[in-house]
Symmetry: C2
Subunit: 236 residues, 2 copies
DNA sequence: GAGTGGTCTAGACCACTTC
DNA sequence: AAGTGGTCTAGACCACTCT
């Protein structure tokens, strides 16, 4: 984090959260900021635009840049939905029960989702995950063995993402997600302790490495009362 | 749409969808593109970065910029979740049944969500919405009467967003959304024709105008089998 | 008209991969 | 070493609001 625009982004962000810039207040204009931070206007614009995309600021041409009032979606969450479940529950006690962990030949759907050649092998991992001993989500994950080699049971019992990023040294670039509601299936009821009238929120996800390879296709089925997904959309 | 970066963005986007740039192919480097489009490298970078955020391209420093293979989340949807229900169902026959349409004094929750002063009046609108005669979603919407004045029953029966943008000339800037699964409530079952074991996907939404004012707080409860929410997250 | 953000440039220099 | 994307600049000019 030595890029100037990231430093400025962090600094302004901190000033918003610490209320040095208060809700509905106009922050200094871009020319002033570029003098304060000793940088060009374009660099200020870049930092400020990140905060606009994040939903913390809004701009009015000809008028100025203003702090948005806090809403549940911009101040609570990190607004980065990219990483695994363990990381999203930082500070809480996460545990996992491994229900299935094997290598199988990819079927038609998995081959299509992971963009594999025919007849490739993939890890199939089914885990129930608990926060403070309470079941939260049932995950069914597929990863190609030639992209993510050497997954051990110990990784599956802990954090697979930790293994991928720290031990294999790979970088996750992006994730495409689809969120739905669904009736509970048999496995959901069993592991998430749900009855027939208690639904799940399903997140289907395809995750990319920074070299463009797909390394994960998964469906996570969350207890309806332990899940929410937050999103900010800004007009371009 | 006369900004150069938007024109270039559209043009590259079209080349991706028309397969002139094929999946996994490397597109021309930024220097070449800036010559082709007679513009600076920064302008190319801006257009390309929009496509990266949209999940259509990915970049590798030192290597090049590549077309992602299509996944359900990047090629099907417009990736703009900003506008109302009518617009998201373009081309289909949308109808509405107005269940409630009145002006009420905002209660504590609505006052907080819409960031109102105490005791302000808001429109309360409950509508069931149908696509091809089939019920899709039950919407409960609150709008402050001093921000969006003059809503008539005819607007509520059609598209309120059309009224706001076309007739009032206001511009929608952003929306903060929270998505959950939930059990069906009495009204859901009645208007969405659900049984106790059929859940809903709830989208709670706060929508901003481009002057920073909040003009809508709503909860939309969708039939579980007629809803999905797609999202692309890219590491910064 | 003064002030604000929006677009765009031409080029320098850096970080990374290997086209 | 050559090629590619990443950062940053200093400034020009435009579009918009109204401090």
């Amino acid at each position: 984090m030595k890029e100037k625009y990231k430093i400025i982004y962090e600094d302004i962000r901190n000033k918003i959260f610490s209320k040095e810039y208060e809700p509905n207040e106009r922050i200094p204009d871009e020319k002033t900021l570029s003098q304060n931070y000793s940088c060009s206007k374009m660099t200020i614009k870049r930092a400020v635009d990140m905060l606009v995309l994040e939903g913390l600021l809004h701009k009015r041409r000809g008028s100025g840049t203003y702090v948005k009032e806090p809403t549940s979606s911009n101040f609570t969450s990190t607004s980065r939905h990219l990483f695994g479940f363990s990381r999203s529950q930082a500070g809480k006690k996460v545990s996992s029960k491994v229900i299935e962990f094997l290598v199988v030949q990819a079927d038609k759907i998995i081959t299509e989702k992971l963009k594999l050649e025919d007849d490739e092998f993939v890890y199939k991992i089914i885990r129930a995950r608990y926060v403070n001993e309470r079941p939260h989500v049932l995950e069914e994950t597929y990863m190609p063995i030639h992209v993510i080699p050497g997954i051990k049971r110990s990784h599956v019992e802990g954090s697979i993402y930790h293994y991928i990023e720290e031990e294999l040294g790979l970088t996750i670039q992006s994730a495409h997600k689809t969120i739905r509601a669904d009736k509970p299936k048999k496995l959901d009821k069993e592991y998430l302790l749900l009855t027939d009238i208690e639904p799940v929120a399903e997140v289907e996800q395809i995750v990319f490495l920074d070299d463009g390879r797909i390394f994960e296709y998964s469906k996570s089925r969350h207890r309806y009362d332990e899940f929410k997904f937050e999103s900010v959309s800004v007009k371009l």
